[in-house]
Structure formats: C-alpha cells, structure tokens
C-alpha cells in the first residue's frame, strides 16, 4: 500500500481553493478599509417608489467577496463529493469524506427538511434565515451526527484502543504494515504515541462530549430554574441565602474545585454520590411542580398524571444514583439503593463525578441569570393580572414568568453547552475523572502536547474538533439571539 497524500488525485483543486480563499481574504480587508474611507452609498428614490442605491466601488467589493466566498464553499463541497466518490483515491481528505458519508447524508436531509418547512417551525425555523445561525447549526449537527454514528461504529476505521505495532507516531496517511483483508489499510490522521488511530479516537471523542455536555447543561438549568425562580419572585431571606450560596460556589476557581472533587480518593469516599443524589432530585421537583401548578384545578386528571410521571422519574432517578444495588458503597459503610434487577443503567464512578461536578459548577450561573430575569419580569402587567386572578405563586413562576424568559435562556443554553464542552476538555487536559485511555478530546490533547514540538498530528485534530464544536455553538447562540430579537 502506498502512503496517502492529503488530496490524492483531486490535487488540481488545491490551487483553485487557495486562489478563492486568497481573494476572499483580500476582499474582506478591502471591504473593511473601504467602509472607513469611502462614503456611504447614496439611496435614490425612483419615480415608481422603489429605492435603488448607486452601484459604486463598495457594491463591487461586496460582490467580489460574496462570489469568492461561494467559490470556496463550492470547492469544499467538490472535495467532499470527490472524496465520497473516489474514497482514498482522493487522498486523506477524500477518504475521510467517505468515512463521514452517513453524517453528510443526515446533514443534507436535516437541512433540506428544515428549510422546506421553516415557516412552520417557530424559532428553530427562523434560524434558517440567518447565515451565521445556519453555519453554527451545521457545525454543531456535524459533531452530533459524528458522535451518534461514531458510537454505532459507522465512521471509525479502527478500534480507538487498538495498538498496531509499527504505527507509533506515524504521519497521516501511513499504510498499515501487512494489513489483513477487510481491515482499513491506512491510519488516516496518523498514529499517536501509543500507536492508536488518531482519526478514530477523535470521532469517538465526539460521542463523549455529545453524551455528557447537553445533558449536564440541562440538569444545571433544571437546578438553576428551580432555585432561581422562587429567589427572584419571593425575594427576601430566601433570595439572600440562595444568592450567598451561589456566590460562594462562583468565588471558587473552577480548576481548584475540579482538583478537589474529581479525584479517585473523593470518589472512594462517596461524596459525588451524595452530590448526585441531591442534584438529580431537582429535575423531579421541577417536573412535579410544573405539572401540579398547571393541572391543580383538575384533580381527576392531575393525580393519575402525577403518579405516572413521578413513578417513572423516581425509577430513573434511583437507577441513575444506584450502582450494583447500592446508592453509596464505601469500605466502611454503604446505603442500599435499587436492587440490581430493577436498575436500568449504571454510570461508572469516573463519569458520574465528572457529570456531577460540571452540573455543580454551572448551576450557580444559571441561577443568577434566572433570578435576574424573574426579578425583571415579575413587575410586568401580566404577572399582576395573574396575581389578581388568584393564581398560585408556582403557576405564575412556571407558566407566566418562565415562558417569557425563554429567549435569553435558550441563547444561554447554547452558550453553556459550549462552556461545558470546554470544561470537559479542561478536565481531560488535567487527566481528571475520565480514564487515561479514554478517547475524549481533552485527554487526547493532553497526551499529544507532550511531543508537540516533533509530532503535530496527535494533538491538532482533537484541538480543532473542540474548537469547531464550541465555535458552532457560539455562532448558533448568536443566530438565535438575532432571530429572537426580531420578534
């Protein structure tokens, strides 16, 4: 087997792409300079009542910029299509594009459906009016699909833990020595320090982030909302106490907290299990109060509904916090939990402590945001109207205040998933929590950085992957903010 080059037989596209990118960069710089130097375009009103602006130098620069941008996009798409068609014939990029085929298909279907029905999809549909939001959403969904398909073993070329002798620190595109029939015959992005495939590890790392980050953020939001709404609505002593506690956690440097909480010694004492038991109860409280306040007036419907929902939630809660029949199991004592035959799933101690500490770090900030919004919204007329109607406080909080605070909360949710991703990377970077051979991006960056001055390829792919995911989430949040302000 020949070693692969980056672009293989489609190398003729490289100069074209370079040219397009260079023109785009140049036109952006000229555009900025022109917007400072040149006068603004004159708007003239035509006789038929339409407006037309004088097509001067400015518009020409703008046209060049748009065209070069479209050309670069078209070229990138061409690379991907050629890759899908030719596979490793189109070099490393082509082979990777082919491996990502399920992701491309899902993205195309998702975007086609969303754009077709965008007028019926509310805020989500409006996202497809803003180019920034679309780019962000595309980046995020790329990694989400990569994570899901990666977990189904569709994208990866090798097992992320397999070490193949002779592949230590090999550059991207190196063929495997004496590869058997059926096995993939290259390390697309090279081998790392322990001769594992960098590409497959990067893809597997996406799954860890996609699993933990949104869920942890959601839990943090549940905790923050459940505590922040009453703090803002009632005020007084409750507010003072909760705000003090929130500030207490916020005054702690995050890394110090991680170093204190996420260690094997602390896991052995069972502290994370206690924290999990406390933190995970908030979603149940939230759900109960939400439904109870809504259907309070219809007891015949509310009671069975609550019993059903509570039963399922409690079952999930108990199976979440109990492992092997115990809630807490240390050397000296243990507390009984759900018996093993009822336990739906087990979470390994390492993941649980990471999850709990990320929720713990995020919830005070969410609390402060929700409290601020509640303080603002409770002075509105519709809240006064609900109070006059005789609605209960929790109904007002959850069904009057919360829906009206949704705009900023959705935007913050996106940003916070990005921040959680960064925190997960930080944990991996310091080797905390997750097992050392785990393919998550932070650990991979940490391993790769030790040989960075000689071998770039083990550290850069996970770094760029993390960067693009967080950037996507930030752009998505920006697009959402812009679109939600338009209402």
């Amino acid at each position: 087997m020949e070693p692969l080059t980056w672009t293989g037989s489609v190398a003729f596209l490289n100069p074209l792409l370079l040219l397009a990118l260079a023109v785009m960069a140049a036109s952006i710089i000229v555009w900025i300079l022109a917007s400072i130097v040149l006068p603004e375009p004159q708007m003239t009103v035509n006789a038929d009542g339409t407006l037309s602006s004088s097509s001067g130098l400015r518009n020409m620069i703008q046209l060049v910029m748009r065209l070069s941008f479209l050309a670069s996009i078209a070229l990138v798409v061409a690379y991907i299509l050629a890759g899908v068609a030719l596979g490793s014939g189109a070099g490393i990029i082509g082979a990777m594009a082919q491996q990502f085929l399920p992701v491309w298909l899902s993205l195309v279907i998702l975007f086609a459906m969303s754009i077709a029905f965008k007028r019926k999809l509310g805020l989500y549909g409006k996202l497809f009016d803003s180019p920034i939001g679309m780019i962000g959403f595309g980046l995020v969904m790329f990694w989400v699909f990569t994570g899901i398909f990666g977990a189904m073993d569709l994208i990866i070329t090798h097992d992320p833990l397999d070490q193949i002798s002779g592949m230590k620190n090999k550059v991207p595109g190196t063929p495997l020595p004496g590869s058997e029939e059926g096995a993939y015959s290259w390390y697309l992005l090279g081998g790392d320090n322990l001769a594992r495939d960098v590409f497959s590890r990067m893809v597997k790392g996406a799954w860890i982030v996609v699993q933990i980050a949104p869920l942890a953020t959601m839990f943090a939001f549940m905790v923050g909302i459940t505590l922040g709404l009453p703090a803002g609505y009632y005020g007084g002593r409750l507010d003072t106490l909760l705000s003090f506690l929130a500030n207490l956690i916020l005054a702690f440097p995050v890394i110090l907290l991680f170093y204190l909480l996420v260690t094997p010694e602390i896991v052995a004492t069972g502290v994370p299990n206690y924290m999990a038991a406390v933190l995970f109860i908030f979603p149940i409280i939230f759900l109960c109060v939400l439904l109870n306040s809504r259907f309070y007036t219809r007891p015949s419907f509310r009671t069975p509904l609550l019993i059903g929902v509570l039963g399922v939630a409690a079952w999930l809660y108990l199976s979440l916090i109990s492992t092997d029949g115990y809630v807490i199991s240390t050397d000296s004592y243990s507390i009984w939990g759900l018996p093993t035959y009822l336990d739906l799933f087990d979470i390994p101690g390492g993941i649980l402590v990471v999850f709990v500490s990320v929720v713990f770090v995020n919830s005070p900030t969410v609390f402060r945001i929700v409290r601020g919004l509640a303080l603002d919204i409770k002075t509105r007329d519709y809240v006064a109207a609900a109070q006059t109607r005789g609605e209960g406080p929790w109904y007002i909080m959850l069904w009057e205040i919360l829906p009206n605070a949704r705009g900023p909360l959705i935007v913050d949710f996106c940003l916070r998933i990005g921040y959680t991703t960064i925190l997960l990377g930080t944990l991996g970077f310091f080797g905390l929590g997750l097992p050392p051979e785990s393919p998550d991006w932070g650990s991979t960056i940490n391993e790769g950085r030790k040989l960075l001055s000689i071998y770039l390829h083990p550290a850069l792919p996970p770094a760029l992957a993390l960067l693009s995911l967080v950037l996507g989430l930030n752009l998505l949040a920006d697009g959402l903010r812009e679109e939600s302000l338009k209402d």
Partner: protein, 348 residues
C-alpha cells in the same frame, strides 16, 4: 459608602471562612490523608503505619478542631514521641517544644509548612505569586487595550463591515479555550515540523529572564481567550451609546464622526467594560493554571496543580484563600468603581 464597603468586607470574610472550611473538609477526608501519608512516607506503607503517621501529625483529630488550629483559635496539636521529643504543627524542625508558641495559625501569621515544596507556605505562595503577577501584568497590558479598541471599532457602526469581521473574530477567540489555542500556537510557531520556530515552546526560562521569545506565547494565549468576551461587552455598550439621543443631537449639530466617538460616546461606553474587566479576573485565574501547566511556567497556577495532585493541605488552603481573596476584592472594586464612574448613580 463606608457602610457599604464594611458590609461587603464582612460578607467577604464569611465567604472566605466557608470556602476554606470546605477545602479543609475535602482535603481531610480519610482517603486523601492516606494519599498524603503515602506520598510523604512511602507507597508501600501498611494500614497501621499510615495510621501512626497520621496520628503523629495530628491528622486524626476531628475536622473542626483541626480547622480551629489552622485558624489559630485553638492550641495546636502536639505529639510526644517514644524517645520523649515533642513534635507538632508549631514546632519547626530544629526547635524544641518549649520554645514554640502554643497557637500558630493564620491569625498569628503562620500559614503552615508545604509538604511538596518542603518550605514555609508563605514563602512558596509569595514567590509563585510574584511570577504569576508578572504574567498577569503583561496579559492585562496586551488584553485590555486591544479588547477595548476592538469593541469600540466594532460598536461604532452596528452591522458594518468592520463590525461583522471583528465580531466574528471575537466569537472565535471566546470559543477557543487556552489549551486549544496554546497547542495550536505551539504547533505553528515553535515546532520543528512546521519550521517557523519564532518562539520557545516552554516558558521555564522566562521565570528568571523573560524575553519576547519565551514569554509572548503564554501571554498571548491567556489574553486571547479573555479578549473576545471583553470586546463583545464593549461592543454591546458602545452600540447602545451610539443609538442614544445625545449622540443623535450631536450628529444633527454637525459634529464630525470621529469627534462624536472620541468626545461624546467613548466615556459613557467604557463604564460597562470596566466592570467586565474586573469580573474577568477569576476567569484569568483558570487560564493561568492551564497556561502555566502547558508552558511549564512555575507560577501560582502550577503550584495549585502540584499542591492538589499531592494533597498538600496547607498549601492548598493558602492558595484557595488567595484566589478567593482575588475574586472578592475584584468584585468589590468593580462595584465601587461602577458607582464612581456612573454619574447617574454617584449623584443620586
């Protein structure tokens, strides 16, 4: 104003007490003490040896008692060895039990003895803080002016070409955590694989002799992550000011655009970023830990990693006191500064 500051200082002290107790509690859990004993003695200690080591050091007392000793409100623990010599927290090596004071805690100005660095905690923290202070000084010098310029330029004309380009840049920097940008910078500018070799990949030499070559990358890495956020806040504040009535009046009067920005808008637009910059300090602390580990610069953040990794209780406590102090003092300054800068609050 005096009452306000007094109240804030009171809250600060309560917060610091709560947080140090929390750190104390977590570091004094038995598995952590066992780890401490094994790193101090040797890793093949039996359970009884661990027990007797901890007994001698006074680690097996109840947590509140130990915390009181650390604070200096309870007399410190002493252990009489079999040969009749006395050892204890207050008794430094080479001192006999009679000379040593009974109380030694932070109230007496004694911060303890670091088990990792084999030195007094106050000296360790002092040295490391000085190194990190130098790093932070350059970070601030690079970050604050460039963030403000970026934000003001972007916010001058909302939606303009400059605004969009600079905002995209700002979003990109906030999306790039230090361990990603640091790795990318090291890869591009220092590695032999790319071949530029403009800078040094480690900042170890910068501790004695900081030069542009070995100090610029760590400074840039920290500054870049914080810069985007400050720039976005400045932009938001600037766009708000630029749509205000008095700016429109000035424009209608025929004041030139540069004059409007420099004389009318800028002063009011910079009130909000001041608060943001002050509140940015705790975040910079995170960046400092990552960058000092990445570039092997042995400052405060590096000491934190060492102390936490080896469960050096006294050093960890001192570090958390310092960092909590930094966070709370910057909050206080930002509140007071906001009142002084904003004439609407100051006068009413």
């Amino acid at each position: 104003m005096g009452l306000f500051i007094l109240r804030r200082v009171g809250i600060m002290l309560v917060t610091a007490l709560c947080l140090t107790f929390l750190v104390f509690f977590l570091t004094n859990l038995y598995p952590n003490l066992e780890k401490l004993a094994k790193t101090q003695g040797n890793f093949r200690m039996s359970d009884e040896q661990v027990e007797s080591f901890l007994e001698k050091g006074g680690y097996l007392q109840p947590v509140p008692v130990k915390y009181g000793e650390w604070l200096g409100v309870l007399p410190s623990y002493r252990h009489v060895n079999e040969d009749g010599s006395v050892q204890g927290r207050c008794i430094l090596p080479g001192q006999s039990g009679d000379e040593a004071p009974n109380y030694c805690g932070i109230l007496q100005g004694y911060w303890g003895y670091s088990t990792v660095f084999k030195d007094e905690v106050s000296t360790v923290v002092g040295n490391r803080l000085a190194l990190t202070g130098r790093l932070m000084f350059w970070v601030m010098l690079l970050m604050v002016p460039s963030a403000l310029i970026l934000g003001v330029l972007a916010g001058m004309k909302e939606g303009s070409a400059t605004d969009r380009t600079l905002s995209t840049f700002a979003i990109t920097t906030t999306a790039t955590p230090e361990y990603v940008s640091g790795v990318i910078f090291i890869a591009i500018f220092t590695s032999s694989a790319v071949g530029l070799k403009w800078f040094k990949g480690t900042a170890t030499q910068a501790m004695e002799n900081p030069t542009f070559e070995n100090f610029f990358l760590p400074v840039l890495t920290i500054a870049l992550y914080g810069m985007g956020y400050i720039a976005r806040m400045t932009r938001a504040s600037m766009t708000e000011v630029m749509t205000a009535q008095y700016i429109r009046t000035a424009r209608l009067k025929g004041v030139s655009f540069p004059n409007i920005v420099m004389k009318h808008a800028l002063r009011n637009a910079l009130i909000a970023p001041f608060t943001v910059i002050m509140l940015q300090f705790p975040w910079l602390l995170n960046g400092v830990v990552i960058v000092e580990t990445l570039f092997n610069y042995k400052g405060f953040g590096w000491a934190l990693v060492q102390a936490a990794g080896n469960n050096d209780i006294q050093l960890l406590l001192a570090i958390s006191v310092v960092s909590v102090f930094v966070v709370l003092v910057t909050q206080l300054i930002s509140d007071i500064g906001y009142v002084y800068l904003n004439p609407r609050i100051r006068i009413s």
